[in-house]
């Protein structure tokens, strides 16, 4: 198929940036979206232009590195996939595709479609861990039985890949689905209880410092999340936060 691509080009964080139009032809429907971008980049290199910079790594939907806002949706039109798993069969011959970076105050553009998501890391530094040293003599793994339901629910929350689609999708650029998922994973497990109050306070505080917006319950993040992280995690975080606040 032949396609027109409108792509955000921005030389550096200092540059203003603009949309530029490109044409690609003979695109196979079996290609992944990023393979289509590879074709474009090879074409640009052959023409002596600079290729489009975009983040990507595992290309199997788990590392969370790829981003892109495609036709107004984080990770494009398909559901339950990251951009690397989006395939060209979702588009038709003659389509014009608009490709922008994830946009949020807390995710500044580095170059073209590459954004800086280290704000997510800093939220994790604030409390996204259980304070246990590596020693070789922690208690036996089966010493504390954990109900299967709780373990499964913790796993569902822990599935978050930290891609930032929730932030890019939210009209307030809120990170509450991301933070809620991490808070929930530990809140659901006995190991996470000791530090639960401090953790939720520290992580929410850091989230606010980073400039993420608030949640107004539109639920768009849940729909665009490639891993199906549920809104329940935001509710759980709010409960944990309230509990911790009351404790003082």
């Amino acid at each position: 198929m032949n396609l027109t691509l409108k792509i955000w080009r921005q030389k550096s964080s200092a540059d203003k940036g603009q949309m530029i139009e490109y044409k690609v032809s003979e695109i196979s429907e079996h290609m992944s979206f990023l393979e289509m971008m590879d074709v474009l980049n090879e074409q640009l290199i052959a023409e002596g232009d600079e290729p489009v910079a975009f983040d990507h790594d595992c290309r199997e939907g788990i590392c969370g590195m790829c981003s892109m806002y495609i036709n107004g949706e984080a990770h494009g039109p398909d559901r339950g996939v990251t951009t690397c798993q989006l395939h060209m069969r979702m588009f038709k011959d003659g389509d014009t595709i608009t490709i922008e970076p994830f946009r949020a105050k807390a995710f500044p553009v580095i170059k073209d479609l590459v954004v800086d998501r280290t704000a997510f890391d800093r939220i994790q530094h604030a409390g996204g861990y259980i304070s246990v040293n590596t020693s070789g003599n922690t208690q036996d793994a089966n010493a504390i039985p954990i109900a299967k339901e709780a373990a499964d629910e913790a796993m569902d929350a822990a599935t978050c890949i930290g891609c930032g689609a929730c932030v890019a999708t939210c009209k307030n650029a809120s990170a509450m689905l991301f933070v809620g998922a991490k808070v929930s994973q530990y809140a659901l497990l006995p190991q996470g209880q000791v530090e639960a109050a401090d953790r939720v306070m520290a992580m929410v505080n850091q989230m606010d410092l980073e400039g993420f917006g608030n949640c107004t319950n539109t639920g768009a993040c849940e729909i665009e999340c490639p891993k199906g992280i549920s809104l329940e995690n935001i509710a759980r975080m709010n409960r944990e936060y309230l509990k911790a606040s009351l404790k003082g």
């Binding site: 393979e35 290729p51 199997e60 398909d78 997510f120 246990v132 590596t134 793994a141 996470g192």
Partner: protein, 672 residues
């Protein structure tokens, strides 16, 4: 030929070596640890766990990742699970049994003492990860669940859905975060190591490029740890991440670290086939699929052609028209033969012309029998008399979905076919490299103060790795082995003081790095980096792939050398070096692969035996039940081939570490 000193503790029984060794090791007192800096390159399971643990102990750690966060390292993509000798199932597992399975699975080409230590610390890994909040799968009693993996006789694999690597990596990442918050780890995201700096014969720092600004930075330390993974991307197409590279490992090799067994590569049988020339990477599907899927190609060439041209569907072929070639050739193990055997058998059928897709490189993995079997079983369990054919399929598909649902969904997203209704297509792909930097028992390379851990080293998997053992090794090295052994070395450095970066050694290393980057930018050739990478991949796949022979390997060496020379003349890299420039990053990595590939072929040529993932067509059983199968040669090749860099890959000098097996009897593998 120099004898390599493995430094394995002598005069102590195998099972006591590690404990005795730890008891006698030199320690660094807590106050002195604060005076010592350690660089860790790579933040996957090995690098991430090592960085966290070293920081907990009190060392000042500088960690480097080319990704934008440590959490994105490619360990995250491991699906199936992690082995540990916990014996929770009471099925007779033990450290010895895990050790035995690993040595046998590696076709007796790994170092006994290292493998025993791995098995010994495996149970600690599970305890540690649970304490960190890793949500492993549990049974209804709330205890940890296990699955069986890769043809061993016990259930010792712990898992977190099909995302075990992700959960373990996020565990290590959380341990790192705690230390980053305390300032004990200084994290350098989007940084790539471009050389190691040697001062007075010791590794004392690295030169790194800031991938955002393009700035070249000097970082010093008392020791350098390489945990940068394997070199599977030398094949261009592999299940590795796009950025996975061998540069850190290759740079230390060029500065004196021996590279061991580069030809040992694992080609995994159950990957989604290539669909066209634009293909950028291959996707693995867990080998657990072979527990229920049956592998076949059509018996008749007419059917192959009809299927390729779309005139016939695979479901229209009767049982008589199908060749279940693994069941035919290996009646005892059938579809559950080890990875290397299954991969070669698929290649054999496709080479003979029986491949079932347009590229001719695909075989079927069919769940029809499993759906029938489970469907009938469920009907009986649910008390349904005389179930209809449709009901049986419905019940059977529900069971298959419960077991493999996420993999089926992934397949359908990529291929756009429903694998419940039509057989999956699979083909082997490069997945893991058992070879790597040579290390001694301390995990130190032949450069003092330079260590290699995880997939980057060679030590534990011999010529073939068992399923669910890569995660185990990465975390064993990072959490439980290196943090001890490195202390023994660093105890001599408590009075050294800060290492200066303003020395002639750093000057020289930085100059060489800068010159190379400038060359790429200024060359203005006529071919992109990918053009060369794809060509290299094709040579590697065709001549150093699943089966190798003398003529092919000699050709490969020549062709790679010629391609390398062409690359240095005609490669083009757009943009500048003082900015974010992904093409420039790729150029450096491919330049290194173009050297590594030639050493790989040389090593494969030198090893004229078949062992594990390395199959030499000249070394097969000539008669009897095993006719045509791989033939190992313990008399001549029971050694580690460690190569010393001498300027050109073809001139590398071989050093042999003879392998001794005192606790295990060497046996030929048989799956007939």
């Amino acid at each position: 030929m120099a004898i390599l000193d493995s430094k394995v503790p002598q005069g102590v029984p195998l099972k006591d070596k590690w404990t005795t060794y730890k008891d006698k090791i030199d320690l660094v007192n807590p106050a002195n640890k604060r005076l010592i800096d350690v660089i860790v390159v790579g933040t996957g399971l090995a690098g991430g766990s090592a960085a966290a643990t070293l920081a907990e102990l009190g060392y000042n750690v500088k960690a480097f990742a080319y990704q934008d966060s440590p959490r994105r390292a490619h360990s995250i993509a491991a699906q199936g699970g992690i082995n540990a000798a916990k014996n929770y199932q009471g099925d007779g597992d033990s450290a010895y049994r895990l050790f035995y399975d690993t040595v046998k699975g590696g076709d007796y080409r790994s170092r006994e003492a290292n493998v025993y230590r791995l098995a010994e610390v495996s149970a600690n890994i599970i305890d540690q990860c649970v304490a960190q909040g890793v949500p492993f799968a549990r049974d209804y009693g709330g205890l940890l669940d296990n699955r069986s993996f890769g043809g061993v006789l016990v259930s010792r694999t712990f898992y977190a859905k099909g995302q075990t690597g992700q959960q373990l990596l996020l565990g290590a990442y959380s341990a790192m975060n705690r230390q980053i918050a305390r300032g004990k780890i200084e994290m350098f995201n989007r940084h790539e190591m471009l050389d190691v700096v040697i001062v007075d014969g010791k590794a004392r720092g690295i030169i790194a490029r800031n991938l955002v600004t393009g700035e070249i930075e000097r970082h010093s330390a008392h020791a350098v740890v390489i945990g940068s993974g394997g070199y599977g991307n030398v094949y261009f197409l592999s299940t590795n991440a796009m950025g996975s590279n061998a540069t850190a490992a290759w740079k230390i090799h060029k500065k004196g670290a021996y590279f061991a067994n580069p030809c040992y590569t694992q080609i995994h049988p159950t990957c989604i086939p290539r669909s066209g020339d634009y293909q950028s990477k291959l996707t693995l599907m867990s080998e657990s699929l072979r527990n229920d899927g049956r592998i076949w190609v059509p018996k008749n060439m007419d059917d192959v052609m009809a299927i390729r041209e779309g005139r016939k569907k695979p479901t229209e072929l009767t049982e008589d028209e199908r060749d279940y070639y693994l069941e035919r050739r290996y009646p005892a193990f059938g579809n559950l033969v080890p990875r290397d055997v299954a991969s070669r058998a698929a290649k054999e059928r496709c080479d003979a012309g029986y491949g079932v897709n347009a590229t001719g490189e695909a075989v079927y993995l069919d769940f029809k029998s499993a759906i029938q079997r489970y469907g009938k079983e469920q009907a009986k369990l649910q008390g349904i008399d005389n179930p209809s054919a449709a009901k049986i399929i419905e019940l059977g598909e529900a069971i298959v979905e419960a077991k493999y649902g996420n993999l089926f969904q992934m397949y359908e997203k990529i291929v756009d076919e429903n694998p419940y209704k039509t057989p999956m297509m699979i083909y082997p792909a490069t997945h893991y490299t058992m070879g790597g930097i040579w290390v001694d028992y301390n995990l130190m390379t032949t450069i003092p103060g330079c260590y290699a851990i995880g997939e980057a080293n060679f030590s534990d998997h011999g010529a073939n790795r068992l399923g669910a053992s890569a995660l185990m090794q990465g975390l064993a090295d990072g959490y439980f082995v290196l943090p001890y052994t490195i202390g023994n070395y660093l105890s001599n450095d408590i009075r050294t003081g800060k290492i200066s970066t303003e020395t002639k050694e750093f000057d020289a290393a930085e100059k060489a790095v800068t010159e190379r980057l400038d060359f790429f930018i200024n060359n203005k050739g006529n071919h992109s980096v990918d053009y060369y990478h794809k060509k290299l991949g094709k040579i590697m796949w065709e001549k150093c792939g699943m089966s190798r022979n003398e003529a092919g390997l000699k050709d490969a060496m020549k062709e790679i050398k010629a391609l390398r020379e062409d690359f240095w003349k005609n490669v083009t890299v757009p943009g500048a070096s003082n900015e974010m420039n992904p093409e420039l990053e790729k150029a450096g990595r491919v330049a290194d692969f173009l050297e590594l590939g030639e050493l790989f072929a040389k090593d494969a040529l030198e090893r004229n035996e078949s062992c594990g993932g390395h199959f030499r067509e000249e070394s097969v059983e000539l008669d009897g039940l095993q006719k045509g199968e791989a033939k190992r040669n313990d008399k001549d090749y029971a050694y580690v081939a460690a190569w010393e860099y001498k300027g050109e890959p073809a001139e590398a000098v071989l050093h042999k570490e003879e392998l001794e097996f005192k606790d295990i009897e060497l046996k030929q593998r048989s799956y007939k």
